[in-house]
Amino acid sequence: MEYILETKALEKKYNKFKAIDNLNMHIPKGAIYGLIGKNGAGKTTLIRLICGLQKPTSGIFMMYGVSNTDKKMKEERKRIGAIVETPSIRIDATAEDNLKEQYKILGLPSEENLKEILKQVGLSNTGKKKAKDFSLGMKQRLGIAIALVGEPDFLILDEPINGLDPEGIIEIRELILKLNKEKGITFLISSHYLDELSKVATHYGFLNHGKIIQEISKQELEQNCRKRIEVKVNNLKECIQYLEENSISYEIKDNEKINIYDTVNISEFAVALSKRNCIIEEFTEKEESLENYYINLIGGESNV
């Protein structure tokens, strides 16, 4: 798989405090990677390291296959756009002037796609209105517009929907999906709004205490979260044989437990297993949201 960004044993210390601790992350090309973690988990610190605002204490990260210690990284950075915490915009300038300055920062000779970018983010009618008079959602979209100058193929958005009203949240969500679909832009989005993130993300990285505790694709997550019956039996082999014979969809969880995804008649199932000397010891119906999944994961991690 081709990765836009990979980190290897990345670490960031502030005095003795490890904000990022042996972090390994993989962002596939074309993905919308949701970085999930509670406040203080290290999301923003990680983004600051990737953006070059701070230097890692140890470990490396590779962007487009180029290491952060390589001098070529300066060139690779031109292929990314980012919003770290708050959108970096000149509040006393218009949307157009904000973009023009970014064109000059990047040294782009032509500003021909300026209007198109403003249109893409829905700010083409702001005219001479200064950014300080924009709503939070408009400021966020302007931040994204600035990040889009230079046609990046990787956008990093740190908490992009923080403080937005429902309408603003929908606007940002639709914009992210549109840019991913139409321009093929890879996204790294940090958030603790799990519900919202689940509407866009194709991959997830769960961050806790500065470590990625799990990376998972949307499909895998849906598989893990979908409605199922978790059964604990004393004879797993017989149970599997029964499920196979009856074409019932299942997944082995461990040596004793099995997840059944199809609907089964509980009485018939129990009787059938009993005839095979297989006793059901536990029987639980489960359906997890991303939120529950995260809480269970973090809880599990905390108990380690």
């Binding site: 502030y14 600051r48 953006c51 070059g52 605002l53 701070q54 300066k74 060139e75 690779e76 950075r77 031109k78 990314i80 756009g81 980012a82 770290v84 915490e85 708050t86 959108p87 970096s88 915009i89 000149r90 509040i91 300038a93 002037d97 023009k100 300055e101 970014q102 000059k104 920062i105 990047l106 040294g107 600035i146 230079g150």
Partner: protein
């Protein structure tokens, strides 16, 4: 570097503080000329000798008294806005090195200081020379004074860029820059001629230039060397610290 300067000049064109300090400098030039003119009228009226009046070369250096304040205000606000608006992040994310960001801001501060000073000089010279006569001091001294004046601007730019980029809070850096200029001014005034401190502070250099060649202690041939050397040291330390700074 060119890209950063290009972006900064684009921003400068619409920067209100820039126009404000230009207006202050123009007002200062007109005020200096007007007070020289009224002094002359009074001296004629009361029959005092006109030789005691300020010559045009002295009028030309009067702006140096306020240039420090103007530059401290401009640099701290112009650079400070990079932090408060977060645009400094855009520059670094776009692949610019911290050294380039630092030097580009320093150059902007120097250029603005020089623009302000040149506007002042042009107004005073174009009106002052026809009205009150030409340069009275030896031309070599006058050229040194000009060189020293421009190097004082470079010196100020070095100090204020350092403060504004190391301290990321715009309000704090603006207050520090203004108070530091005031403190340097007071410190320089309190010194006696010949004190080394008059060489190593831009305000002390301004005082020495104001003596022109009337006092032997005026070190005008060497002041620019002090400015150049100290600015180099300040910039080196500033770049080192800025490189290590954890940006947010």
């Amino acid at each position: 570097m060119y890209k950063l300067l290009n972006a900064s000049f684009f921003r400068l064109k619409k920067n209100k503080i820039f126009y404000f300090i230009i207006v202050v400098s123009i007002v200062m030039a007109l005020f200096v000329l007007y007070s020289r003119y009224t002094d002359e009228l009074k001296d004629i009226q009361y029959g005092f000798p006109l030789t005691d009046l300020k010559t045009t070369d002295r009028l030309l250096i009067d702006n140096l008294v306020i240039i420090g304040f103007l530059m401290s205000l401009f640099t701290s606000l112009f650079v400070g806005t990079e932090y408060s608006d977060g645009v400094i992040r855009n520059k670094l994310i776009a692949g610019h090195s911290r050294i380039s960001v630092y030097i580009a801001n320093f150059i902007m501060s120097v250029v603005v200081g020089i623009i302000v000073e040149v506007i002042y000089l042009l107004i005073v010279a174009s009106i002052g020379i026809p009205m009150f006569g030409g340069i009275q001091i030896p031309i070599s001294d006058f050229l040194y004074v000009l060189l020293d004046s421009f190097m004082i601007i470079v010196f100020y730019a070095g100090i204020f860029t350092f403060i504004s980029l190391i301290c990321s809070n715009i309000t704090t850096s603006t207050v520090i820059c203004l108070l530091l200029t005031l403190a340097m001014m007071i410190m320089a005034i309190l010194q006696t001629p010949g004190d080394e401190i008059l060489n190593i502070f831009p305000t002390g250099q301004v005082i020495q230039i104001s003596w022109l060649s009337y006092k032997e202690e005026a070190n005008i041939q060497l002041l620019w060397v002090y400015s150049l050397g100290i600015t180099f040291v300040i910039n080196t330390i500033g770049i080192y610290l800025f490189n290590r700074k954890e940006l947010k």
